[in-house]
Amino acid sequence: MSESSGSALQPGRPSRQPAVHPENLSLDSSCFSSPPVNFLQELPSYRSIARRRTTVHSRDKQSGTLLKPTDSYSSQLEDRIAENLSSHSLRNYALNISEKRRLRDIQETQMKYLSEWDQWKRYSSKSWKRFLEKAREMTTHLELWREDIRSIEGKFGTGIQSYFSFLRFLVLLNLVIFLIIFMLVLLPVLLTKYKITNSSFVLIPFKDMDKQCTVYPVSSSGLIYFYSYIIDLLSGTGFLEETSLFYGHYTIDGVKFQNFTYDLPLAYLLSTIASLALSLLWIVKRSGLNQRLATEMGQHELYNMAYFWSPHETYRIENLRSVEGFKINLIRSEEHFQSYCNKIFAGWDFCITNRSMADLKHSSLRYELRADLEEERMRQKIAERTSEETIRIYSLRLFLNCIVLAVLGACFYAIYVATVFSQEHMKKEIDKMVFGENLFILYLPSIVITLANFITPMIFAKIIRYEDYSPGFEIRLTILRCVFMRLATICVLVFTLGSKITSCDDDTCDLCGYNQKLYPCWETQVGQEMYKLMIFDFIIILAVTLFVDFPRKLLVTYCSSCKLIQCWGQQEFAIPDNVLGIVYGQTICWIGAFFSPLLPAIATLKFIIIFYVKEWSLLYTCRPSPRPFRASNSNFFFLLVLLIGLCLAIIPLTISISRIPSSKACGPFTNFNTTWEVIPKTVSTFPSSLQSFIHGVTSEAFAVPFFMIICLIMFYFIALAGAHKRVVIQLREQLSLESRDKCYLIQKLTEAQRDMRN
């Protein structure tokens, strides 16, 4: 061992002993033939592992690995277990059932010798545990769509199942958002409107305003054609405009109950802020599952290495455990950290029960392993690149990224033009137009957005092939570009609307702060655009499933002679595209929730219907994709994309709430300059000490140092994480050196014993 360690050690990378290296064969075999194995098991370190692991306390419930004892130690282990009856249930031990039964009998006989208090304690803790288990089982039964998702998981694997759980999460999120809005805004209005409680609306006319700003022409109902109802339903104009669907309905300053006045404008604004904050917290918490796992892994790693060291070092290492800087790095590098081990040991899904799924799993594992090896080869190729090749590749990448930006710019410009065109022509005499032209103009922005979202992924997929990245990075970059494209188009639409609302031909904007001629109630009109986007998105999803996937499947099944169709094949369930679709829908919902309070309810219904449609489409028209999508990464990826959508939704909302003056003709904020003004006005009604406190907290003198302190804390954690990584590498090296020392010493010992005997 010492010879090979001297020759092969490189700095920073301990050499690994191959098991069948010819020089070491004799050493290895003598190291591990029968007497030394007993030595290994008699070592204090081994015994302390066994002891520590059997008596580990539940700091984390699943810690403490429990070894099946070898023959000489089985009775000792069982005695130890029989002694430590209090904390652990027998189920965590790796013994078979007859042995567990015996131990349990020992436990029960021992119980008789305890005092009554201890007996009662044990009995109550057992029944409490049983109750908790039953409660947990009951709550899992309450989960929505549990059976459907489990059967999908069984048939199509965990990647597609994660898409459906994500969809279920969005349904619940939208339901909760709608409940918040309902409690805060809708309920008082409905109670007063239908005279359920003895309350009345409070309407305060603003005196200093120009009368012109308050003019809100209701669309004249002259000769009503039948199809105008359909157009109204699809575009939110006409009879839908005055309903509680849109902002303009809530032209109320307060609701007067018997004892107090309910401030509706404040409630309206707070409902939006609360729903966005709740979404953010829920998404972060849901993705935090990965973080908790990473922390647990970090703790275990250090813990398991600790037994090699002296008590002083163990103490030091135990202290390191409490710092959680591992999280971020482990998540980022998790994919490459153990990719081969994950595939080999956690790759086969033991739930698979039918032949075709098994074949699929085999081929997907094969594909994944080949892709990983390919990536390895790519990495080596990159490492071997000459400098001129590097320069060439980087300049090519720069050029291609400029093309990507140009494509994005072209799409954004197309959306801008389409929105402007649609808005201008909507104001003309739309009733006089033909039905199809009518609808086309109303839906023009949606149509352009959908077309752009259809074409650009194909362009991006073509471009990235020339950029010469590794396959995994290619996929991720393409997806990120498509995500950005999809979500930024909504922002462009909203900004176009915003610019149209605040721009006027002459100086009439100074009168009310916005273009009141074209947009007397601009929030309602923005709400209508969001409503149209949502409806159109829903229609497109249904249409694609019904009119593309289903006929494709029929063609493939019944037209088996046609080679071209067989080549095309059945639809694959493309997870990234579907996820982008529902994140797009959710972003629209977030932006539109302020302008249209009922939009989250519509979104909930839409997602429920999409769940069933997609499930039906998956089961009957799709074949599983050979390119697998790992569940552990995909959950994090979906939530990351959703978070990007949330951030992109907050931007236009903050601008419209704080910058654009609220419309004076409709809505709860007629008496305020901007929507945000409600908050300062409410704060000014607080007691003066609270007021001065709030003013202090929001002033620059507080905010700037606060921001700097947060930045410092963040840098501290990043540095700590880097330091821990280095410590882990060092400890690993030392671990391998120690085990080699151990083998060497055991070998020497056996040689000495042999010499003594001879």
């Binding site: 690994r16 191959p18 098991a19 069948v20 419930k61 699943q62 810690s63 690995t65 429990l66 070894l67 249930s89 189920r91 965590n92 031990y93 790796a94 078979n96 059932i97 007859s98 567990k100 039964r101 349990r104 029960e108 057992k126 965990t158 990965n290 796992l293 892994m297 275990h300 790693e301 398991n304 998790e334 153990q338 990719s339 081969y340 081990c341 994950n342 080999i344 040991f345 956690a346 790759g347 086969w348 899904d349 033991f350 739930c351 698979i352 029960t353 085999h362 094969r366 392993l369 080949r370 990983d372 090896l373 390895e376 790992r630 569940a631 552990s632 391998s736 120690e738 085990s739 080699r740």
Partner: protein, 180 residues
């Protein structure tokens, strides 16, 4: 099968406190002619491996032979009721991670030498890919696995290495379970 389920509930009822991770499910009987209905006298009945290997939960599993060998009493794949219950108990959803990791280690240790050596890994990879990777690719994959998981650098995975690695494998709990 279902008989095992009903027997278990009766057994669990009389032997209280013995927790076996279990979920009810309806099933066709595995071997009705072999398994007697009354287990109170603890008869020594063994279900042969061929029947176990053809169970719907296991028949497509490339490791079914190893699973049966690990849980059977003599390591030959023929299982008694206790072995059967043990197997489903460990493979159910509610078994703790360490218990599963321990048994997974035994399953992947083809030559039963308490270490997963390179030969064991090659067997695992071959079974996973049904022999469709070339020999060079298989050995490359095995080398990578040892690179990643071998903590003490002795060229094979001990139980500690394996358990450390499983801690960092987030998919393990969701894939290493059999739903009945």
């Amino acid at each position: 099968g279902q008989q095992a389920n009903s027997l278990h509930t009766r057994a669990a009822g009389s032997v209280s406190g013995l927790h076996i991770f279990h979920k009810e499910g309806d099933h066709e009987d595995l071997a009705p002619q072999l398994v007697p209905l009354d287990y109170t006298t603890c008869p020594d009945v063994k279900v042969p491996y061929e029947l176990i290997g053809s169970m719907p939960e296991l028949k497509d599993n490339p490791f079914r032979q190893r699973i049966a060998q690990v849980f059977s009493e003599d390591g030959d794949g023929h299982m008694t009721l206790d072995n059967f219950l043990d197997m489903f108990s460990v493979m159910s959803e509610m078994a703790p991670r360490d218990l599963k990791a321990y048994y997974a280690f035994k399953i992947y240790d083809f030559n039963n030498d308490d270490y997963i050596c390179a030969w064991d890994l090659e067997q695992t990879v071959t079974k996973l890919t049904r022999g469709e990777l070339s020999a060079e690719e298989v050995s490359l994959v095995c080398e990578k696995v040892l690179d990643e998981a071998d903590g003490d650098h002795d060229g094979r995975l001990s139980l500690e290495d394996f358990q450390n690695m499983i801690l960092r494998a987030p998919d393990f709990l969701s894939t290493f379970h059999i739903r009945i």
